[in-house]
């Protein structure tokens, strides 16, 4: 995916490696890294900073017998598989496959051919798959906070530019944008927000709790 043009900034990658980034965004970041070597490199650079911080921390004393206990455990077979490797399935990168828990997206119509499948919704925000038919606009929507949208299939354009497969758009509450899917195959995106989207178009605001958007 060397043709990815829209990346994730270092500060968000730092928040991701430290664990400060809320879960919905972390799914988008992990997915983007899976699709973008540039950000894989930058993610690993962030880990190097984290490693340097760890290395230079003032040490804390550990219990005297702890080392012996751990050494004794080395020959045990780990109870759980030590390696959790999410794998890509079709257009869905590993972290999305994991969020789908191995199943298929459960699409629900939002009208005008637009569909969504919510992967996670909690206090930290929500992350969903959005399906936008070719040529169709997503209704104008503001949002209260950070929004991250990663293209998995097709492409969309809005005031911020053109976003193709692997590109991620990061916007904040100051942006009211109208993403429009390119003509052709449907555009499928992974979108995370920390707040309910405020659609101004065809889904009345009263219905937002019903749709979970």
């Amino acid at each position: 995916m060397s043709d990815v043009k829209h990346h994730i900034a270092d500060d968000l990658l730092a928040a991701y490696v430290s664990g400060a980034l809320p879960h919905p965004y972390a799914i988008v970041v992990a997915s983007h890294i899976s699709m973008c070597d540039e950000c894989r490199v930058r993610h690993e650079a962030q880990l190097a900073v984290g490693g340097s911080v760890l290395e230079t921390l003032e040490t804390t004393e550990i219990t005297a017998d702890m080392k012996a206990r751990v050494m004794d455990l080395l020959d045990d077979t780990p109870a759980k598989p030590a390696i959790r490797v999410p794998r890509r399935q079709g257009i869905y990168p590993g972290p999305v496959v994991e969020a789908l828990k191995g199943g298929q997206p459960k699409w629900r119509s939002l009208g005008m051919g637009v569909k969504q499948s919510i992967l996670f919704a909690g206090e930290e925000g929500s992350v969903r798959l959005l399906y936008i038919p070719g040529g169709q606009a997503v209704p104008e929507h503001g949002h209260n906070g950070l929004e991250m949208t990663l293209v998995l299939q097709g492409a969309f354009s809005d005031e911020g530019g053109r976003y193709g497969v692997g590109d991620v758009e990061v916007t904040d509450e100051h942006v009211d944008h109208v993403p429009t899917a390119e003509p052709g195959p449907a555009c499928i995106c992974l979108a995370a927000t920390d707040a309910p989207l405020r659609f101004k178009g065809f889904v009345p605001r009263l219905l937002q709790p019903v749709f979970g958007i």
Partner: protein
Amino acid sequence: MVALSEDLKTPKPALSRAARRASDSNAGGTTLTDRSAEDREYTEQTLWMLAVRDKRDKAAFGCLFDFYAPRLKAMILRNGISGSHAEDIVQDVLLTVWNKAGQFDPQRAGVSGWIYQIARNRQIDLARKYNRPVPEELRTEDRTEEEAGQILALEQETQKLKRALAALPEEQREMVEKAYLGELTHSDIRNMTGLPLGTIKSRIRLGLDRLRNELKDLR
């Protein structure tokens, strides 16, 4: 797990004279992959980690334990976790280091960064009820020869990064520390000035390109 058991069966040759010396293994007849690297040496941490990965060397693991356990505990305590629970997490992390050693790729990551990642993942998994999302792994089942020059160059960049961190004004250094220990929110981090990461990125990029080439050749 396949990669791990392969490692158990077929220890890889040590990468350098230094790696040979640091290990208590009697695997003789190892060859140098990069003679120009002979006069430079890997850090102790890298030597220990490679001995653990390639020879399942418990003495080397003991050295890793001595170095990292007190630091990992300090990091975990900073996140408000109590002493005995913190040690449970340290234990988990270090056992993961032992069990996942086959995934350590010194051409792309330093030991501390790799262990930092395992520790953060573990802490976040415990703090939340769901698993932390992680990127897809890039790895080869059979590790081909690693280039000592690349590993050493990445180590140099990591040392430079550590020096840059130490040279920051106190207040800024504390901010960086807080950020990477998960004590700042993502919006706080967004307003933080970053460290110069350009050269370490170029170096990691070379390590990744090597791996990409290997993956391509395997297909």
